[in-house]
């Protein structure tokens, strides 16, 4: 069957075409069904007519390569693909709900809402990066939200898989991406840095916060090359009610130099989830764009600048872990606390880009009781926070690399595991109490954390001394 003749009711490889839901420049989308599959599906059929943009064809090949490799809730589930000798197509899960694009007309959004959406997108990005894939075309129309709330990234036509041949690497002269969202290094034809997606996230956050695009919508190579040296107007200059913490996050995502951005989308998600913990730097205070001299300096440096490819995604992500240390502040465990600090120091020494989150748990008697209304509880919370900071002080960690949290929970192990999970923690360091009278009361928190943690766990123990006390 010629491609032009697709119509509702026809069948391809057992998939029945129900309804064309979209006709884009590069592909058509059909809602399809198959008897043995119960969830809703969509079939993407590329335009392959003679004279069509070769990028559309290669982009389709790329998506056929990358999508089957991906899994998880943050991407559409891959079902099947047909090769180019018969019917080129990809069938994937249909994502119900709206794309982020539908929210653009509401911008500027309230800062809390920007942070909420941003954290969802950053979480999805981190999941993608962990699977060795860089999206390279993150923009509102490529972000969907499931009815359950999770962000789903779609359209992998420009994506780069770190462990597969890059079909787009040298094919075309123009920088590939969408002009308002493209990162400086993509302008330089670098396709292997996951922080390009963090830059695009910054553009999205900026737009949602201010209702304006940070770099406009340039056309042509000259306009895009400005991204190598021109910084955007700070969000607070465009919209006064943008809080400093949000400006800090946005401008950190939008740093021209990749190494000045967040090392991972998980770190960006962390800040978006904990505004009060964001360390404010000069970025937060910036009232206008960089001055002539600074920009001219960057411009000079950008002339004739050659692309420099950094290491693999896996290597880069591995060097910027979020490390969580669970500290027991109860008296009688000073030796353990000291060993815990030593252990944390070793982890941080080996990964210079690591961020540390220090966590302790205040055990509450009842689940669901709002302890913040309780004055004693509030005082205790503040005291424990101070003790936690006191514990971490000898580690001498730069303030932008450490945060402190007192969790309130009935079950400390569950609270720690949930915290690690929702904050994309890569490595938990926790102490194991030896035999103690308190242990009966607390149970073995560390063993439960080891059993249920979503990541690596290091258990620190005070060496047992053999003596005859039985």
């Amino acid at each position: 069957m010629p491609l032009g003749a697709l119509s509702a009711g026809s069948e391809i490889d057992g998939f029945r075409l129900e309804e064309k839901i979209h006709q884009g420049g590069m592909a058509a989308l059909w809602r399809v069904t198959r008897d043995d599959i119960s969830f809703p599906m969509v079939m993407k059929v590329p335009r392959l007519k003679y004279g069509d943009d070769p990028a559309a064809i290669v982009g389709f090949e790329v998506e056929q390569m990358v999508l089957p490799k991906l899994s998880g809730i943050h991407v559409p589930r891959f079902v099947a693909s047909g090769d180019f000798t018969s019917h080129p197509y990809i069938v994937m899960e249909y994502i119900a709900g709206n794309s982020l694009r539908s929210r653009l007309s509401d911008a500027p959004l309230e800062p809390d809402e920007v942070a909420r959406l941003g954290a969802l997108i950053a979480t999805a990005l981190h999941d993608l990066h962990r699977q060795q894939v860089i999206h390279l075309d993150l923009k509102p129309s490529n972000v969907m939200f499931r009815p359950t709330g999770e962000a789903v990234l779609i359209d992998f036509g420009l994506a780069h898989h770190d462990q597969l041949p890059d079909l787009l690497a040298e094919e075309f002269r123009l920088p590939m991406g969408t002009a308002p969202y493209i990162s400086p290094e993509q302008v330089m034809h670098i396709r292997g840095d996951h922080r390009s997606d963090i830059f695009a996230l910054g553009v999205v956050l900026y737009y949602l916060t201010t209702g304006e695009r940070p770099f406009g919508n340039p056309t042509g190579v000259h306009g895009l090359r400005r991204r190598l040296y021109r910084d955007p107007p700070p969000p607070r200059a465009v919209r006064e009610n943008c809080p400093r913490w949000l400006q800090e996050i946005i401008l950190k995502c939008l740093e021209i130099e990749v190494s000045n951005r967040y090392g991972s989308a998980a770190q960006a998600a962390f800040d978006l989830q904990h505004p009060s913990q964001v360390l404010l730097t000069g970025r937060a205070e910036r009232g206008k764009r960089d001055g002539f001299l600074k920009v001219a300096g960057r411009w000079l440096a950008s002339i004739g600048q050659e692309p420099v490819q950094s290491g693999s995604v896996a290597h880069n992500l591995g060097s910027v872990p979020i490390v969580m240390v669970a500290v027991d502040l109860a008296p009688g465990h000073e030796e353990l606390a000291e060993l815990l600090a030593q252990s944390v120091r070793r982890v941080l020494d080996s990964d210079k880009g690591a961020r540390l989150t220090c966590v302790t748990v205040r055990k509450t008697p009842l689940v669901g009781l709002d302890i913040n209304v309780d004055e004693t509880g509030a005082n205790l919370h503040v005291r424990m926070l101070a003790e936690l900071m006191h514990w971490a002080r000898p580690l001498k960690i730069a303030p932008d690399r450490v945060t402190y949290h007192v969790l309130e929970a009935h079950d400390p192990a569950i609270a720690l595991v949930e915290y690690a999970s929702s904050n994309h923690v890569d490595h938990i360091v926790i102490g194991a109490r030896g035999s103690s009278t308190l242990r009966r009361f607390l149970g073995s928190v560390s063993s439960q954390v080891v059993a249920e943690a979503p990541c690596t766990v290091t258990v620190v123990r005070v060496p047992r001394h053999t003596h005859g006390s039985g």
């Binding site: 089957p68 090769d83 597969l164 041949p165 890059d166 079909l167 040298e170 094919e171």
Partner: protein, 247 residues
């Protein structure tokens, strides 16, 4: 159909055994030996016995330059260490082994795949494919969408799209590469018996023709025994040492 592709076994009994075991566990329908069954290594008789048995059971095999040297005599271009091993190999083989090697074709084309030891443009001249330039030269004369070769002892994937430009890709072991039909592919299967990419583990390729995927595997094997066998046979020390270093 799943094809296991072994290049450059080079009489390395330990590496060959390890790869056969590994591929056997992974499951395959057919075996393809991409040339240089002998040379460099110190157990050519056992290796050939095994290869002959496999071929009589349906495996495909093509001729390599070391195999040819054993049959026809050494070539001037071969370095002296390799020549010494060829002479030694000829002395330890049976006439049936030589006859088998002499019967091997330079190239085999089957079901959309070309199997050749060195390159497609002049398979008997043994020129190397070490860059996209040479890969393009080979792809230009191959009629098939896929070419599998060896000879270089380093795993490499070259692919060519509609623009004609050829790109190099260094494969990641264990990660299947979808080899789409809109593109032409040249796959160097690395070396079973003498890897030179810095990793001593034996290398082979599995091709799934139904799903069009190419997967490289690295198989750790008993390098010490293979190296000891070379030393005990009095063959050049360099050949034992390079197995240990994978260079």
């Amino acid at each position: 159909m799943r094809l296991a592709l072994f290049a450059d076994i080079h009489a390395n009994r330990e590496a060959f055994t390890a790869c056969l075991d590994h591929a056997g566990r992974a499951g395959y329908d057919r075996l393809v030996l991409l040339g240089d069954i002998v040379g460099y290594g110190a157990d050519p008789a056992w290796t050939l016995d095994t290869a002959m048995k496999l071929v009589s059971n349906g495996a495909t095999a093509v001729l390599g330059n070391h195999d040819e040297a054993v049959v026809k005599g050494r070539r001037k271009t071969m370095h002296s260490g390799a020549q010494r091993v060829i002479e030694w190999t000829k002395a330890v083989l049976e006439p049936s082994h030589i006859e088998f090697l002499g019967s091997l074709p330079l190239r085999v084309e089957d079901s959309g795949c070309l199997y050749v030891h060195a390159n497609a443009w002049a398979p008997g001249e043994w020129e190397y494919i070490t860059s996209p330039f040479e890969a393009a030269r080979s792809l230009a004369v191959a009629k098939t969408g896929l070419t599998f070769c060896g000879h270089v002892h380093e795993p490499a994937v070259y692919h060519q799209g509609a623009s004609g430009r050829v790109e190099y890709f260094r494969p990641v072991p264990g990660v299947s590469i979808p080899a789409g039909v809109r593109r032409r592919w040249l796959v160097n299967a690395g070396a079973v018996g003498q890897p030179r990419d810095g990793l001593p583990a034996a290398c082979y390729v599995m091709f799934d023709s139904a799903h069009k995927t190419i997967t490289y595997y690295r198989v750790p094997y008993d390098v010490n025994s293979a190296a000891a066998r070379i030393r005990n046979a009095g063959l050049p020390e360099l050949l034992a040492a390079r197995l240990e270093r994978g260079e």
